[in-house]
Amino acid sequence: MVDPILLIAIPLGAAFFLGLLRDEWRTSAYVITLLTLAFVSWVSSSWLLGFSLDKIAPVEILTAGSEPPFSINLRMGLNESVALLMISLTGLLSSIYLKDTLFRLGRRAMAVLLVFVMAMCGIVLTRDIFNLFVFIELTVIATAGLVLLSHNTLSLGAGFKYLVASQIASILLLVGIIFSYHVTGTLNIDGMAGMSNVLIQTSPLAFFLLFIALVIELKPFPANGWALDIYESAHPAFSAILSAATATASLFAVDKILNIGGDNWLPFATGIGILSFIGANLFALAQTHDRRLMGYSSVGQIGLILIIIGQRDILGENYFFIAGGVLLAHAVAKAGLFWMSGLVNARELSAWTALRKRPMLIFAFVSFIALLIGLPPFPGFYAKWELVHVLASEGRIALIVLILFGALLETAYLFRWFGLILRHEDEAPVVACPSQKVAVIYSAVLLGWGLGYIWGELSGFGNLLYTIPLLFALLFLPLEWLPAKLKNTFAIMGLVTWFIVQYPAYDPLQLIFAAIILPGGALVLLASYYNSGRRIGFYPSALWMFAGLSMLIMAEDSFAFFAAWESLTIGSYFLILRGKQSQPHALSYILFSLGGAFLMLLGFALASEGNPLFPLTSLASVASDLAPWVFILLAIAFMTKTAAIGVHIWLPGAHAEAETDVSPLLSGILLKAGLFGLFVLLINMGKQQLYGVELTHVLLWIGAISALLGNMMAIYQEDAKRLLAYSSIAQMGYALFGLALMNHLGWLMALMFVVNHYIYKSMLFLSIGGVAKRTGTKAMYRMGGLITLMPLSFIAVLIGIIAVSGVPPLSGFGGRWIFYNAIMSAEYRLPMVIIFLAGPIAFLYLFRLIHTVFLGQLKDEHRQLKEAPFWIILPQMIYVAFLMIFALAPGLALQKVDGYISRFFPNNGLNWEGLTITSDFGYWSPVSIMIIIGVIFVTLFSWLLFVNRRAQKVKQFNIVYAAERPYRPETTHFAWNFFAPYRKALGFMTQPLVTRFWDTVAELLHTAADLLRRLYTGDGQTYAVQLLAFVVAVYFLGNGVM
């Protein structure tokens, strides 16, 4: 191993040596710089390997040939090596990125860069507090120097403000150091830690000054105006170093210092961390300037890590796993984002639309924000999981809630940004991307994924990057250049194969869901064949969602379940975002889903009492005082997916604006994830009571109201796909209701809805999508009379609505029949009333759908339309066949499930003998119904044909129309505001109260952010004042400890 002292000596020597070169020899100077940084990276990585693989012990490096504490000593350990590698790599990549700038500025700048990196390494390595001070001052000076790299007045001002702030910090630090030295008689950190109790007793303020000064180096909110100005104005490559490397080093320093302070100083770190995390993320909401936004986000992230540091007394050996995960993920992602911002010319967020045409860069961006938020499979994900569980086991629930809230804020602005990039109306021109810069960015992406892999290995939960479904999804990234049709074939094959492979492992419940997800998904994907071209981005997202779904139903423990849940959420988000107008809806979708996911996280953490690998089955044995809360949290989480009323507002837009073949995926398949979750929840936890309230009863009400209001709102939609979307809310309401009945038939009905809803909703979305594709509009009143032009689509819709409305003889009736039998034995009756009201309302929108689209008056501009594309029709016809089969023999799907449910509810199942299905209350014979109706119908039809053979076809306008003759279809087609009387009578029930509520919440947050951030007046002195005020405030708050 190389002596770590070289990490300091070599860059320093190189920096001095650069002075010898002639100013003209820029290339050689640059080469030397790169070589030095490469050397540093190599040394630290070799140490890292040594520590991680060969498990060598940490080494002490003595200087001056004498022992500490009398001379300065350094320490190289695993954590040090990681931090050093992080720092040096950032430096190296940044200096590659900075090529042109460095050439312009000459060797001096390169020397400064080298010293900068050296100083940060020193901060990490040294064990002497005054030496730490020296290195910190070096970084300060180097920072102030490098800020000048982007030579404009702004950065000058920022640099000066920074100097002012750091002057104050260094004054406090020095005073702190000297007093600590006075008490402990040593400058060695470990020596001081040894005498910690003496120090804290005799002169706690000395330590306070040390601590607060180092914390200020972390740019905590609100004492960080200068830092934000630097982030905003400095050269992006330098901001990258500042955000990645400097943060790492400073956090390391704080971590060291807290060894001295001992545990009762951790609350300070925690408090400051929370303030920074939430405050910064809140302010970022109101940002339109990209680099400043990233600055805020950096402050937030560092706050998060400070929180983690504040928890290290309870984190134990997980401390470095968690802190490291968050820290490294943040460093890589933020560096990458800053580097990317160098490719974008303007500074508004919308200017990033320039990346739109560069799929690779988009992928990079996605990876970065995923790293920041901590989505699977990135380190932050494992870290957050572990952290929340430890916190829960220690009962620090409030802290968890705050952390998750901050994380949600962060999600909000990051994903809004991403949505802007892909969907902002005006697109910035594509920018030139110098190859070395792009290479740097891509290496950051690789680093990020590599970290994801490593953390997966380190976590005891199993590496997500080993799960075949996710790998299969990732496989499509390199295949993006292939034509869409080919990729589609792969995807379909993959889904079907996975189903066949897994088939033996499923129990009947899983089988139902698996059948809908995998072969069902493949069936929907048939429709995707009509897409030509490459269709960049569709397949990775779609398969990521499918991967999540298929992992969800096989999940054994809480971690696998949660990971699958988040994966499917992300995948579906990208699918939704593909829609032309869908940016806001996609955003609200991801916010609600991740909000729900966080609740789920909290729920699992509570339930497992800290066991991060919590088998789902042991949800049954949760402590009785916790159980109801766990139940509530998980239930809400799942209901955000099924879009129960109250958290439904994301659904209509998301489903309606999605692409033709995406809507069925979302509505037919994705919604079922929530139902599956509810199944798991109810199977394992059963009924729970909170303050005497039966929670399943509450679910019953929620389901009923969702059914009613979903249908109600569907009535008034003018947009066909929105109508279907609202109807989905209602249908899920029915399913939820059935589940909440907590009896045999209720669950059977829920499963029946799962199957039925998949079939007919996918079918309807496809056919309406096809029509919308041809007519070029989704507004129903602009269509009409299409039955003759699109007969197949019409048949699909006809069958579909008969099935939805539950009119015999089709399968929908089976659902209704089971439903009635189920409620016969239910103990609650009031919610039924609402369900009864909801039932017939379905007819209203269904009839409106088929009438205003296919019947009535054909519009002139549609006269030349053709039937929808073959590939869109094909799956519809298959669905029609399914519906018929399912109507004739529902037993095929249901009998096994019926048996399966008997495990939980042995009583009043169904009797499947013969053709007639009998329950305790009634009977039902699908086949004979079909035959009887068929016979009657055919008889009458042939009779009519016989008596009415001379009937002649007439033109569109040949109708008995009072007094005059209609001449324009628009005036004759009765479609707009179809149910006006209904609106008059019951319109009050569909006030958009929920939407208004959520809008207000968002509005409040934004206003708060916009007002509060004016705290940063831009005046350097004000910043300094705030800084000192912060110090004094902490001092007075912490008076108890001091």
Binding site: F130, V134, E137, V140, I141, A144, G145, L148, T153, L154, L156, G157, A158, G159, F160, K161, L163, V164, Q167, I168, S170, I171, L174, V175, I177, I178, F179, Y181, H182, L187, L228, D229, E232, S233, A286, R292, R1013, R1014, Y1016, T1017, G1018, D1019, G1020, Q1021, A1024, V1025, L1028
Partner: protein, 118 residues
């Protein structure tokens, strides 16, 4: 004695920071900071001082044998040197900034530098 040194040091620091926070002229701010730095250095030296002892230089006056009982703490003296040098460095840097700001903006008023905010 020590108390006097420390108190003066602290007063200097306070005065310096107060000046730095209230004077809007950059040059005055810089001066104020040097004042504060001086205060810090004074504090450091004051900490190292022990009543009735002499400088930590071994010669005929202070033989090695009784050094431990005769000299004051040498470490703070070493530290103060470093502190001074670093102070000088930062001051120089700030002056450079001041010059640059002046050439670019034509004024030395810190309150005029407010382009970046919020």
């Amino acid at each position: 004695m020590e108390y006097i040194a420390l108190t003066c040091g602290f007063l200097l620091i306070l005065i310096g920071i107060y000046g730095a926070l209230t004077q809007s002229n950059i040059l005055r701010m810089i001066v104020a900071f040097t004042l504060a730095n001086t205060g810090v250095n004074l504090v450091i030296v004051g900490i190292g001082y022990i009543n009735g002892r002499t400088a930590p230089i071994l010669d005929t006056a202070v033989p090695v044998a009784e050094a431990a009982t005769r000299i004051i703490d040498p470490l703070p003296q070493a530290l103060v040197l470093t502190a001074i040098v670093i102070g000088v460095g930062i001051t120089a840097l700030m002056l450079a900034y001041a010059y640059k700001l002046f050439t670019l903006k034509g004024s030395l008023d810190i309150t005029a530098i407010k382009e970046l905010k919020w």
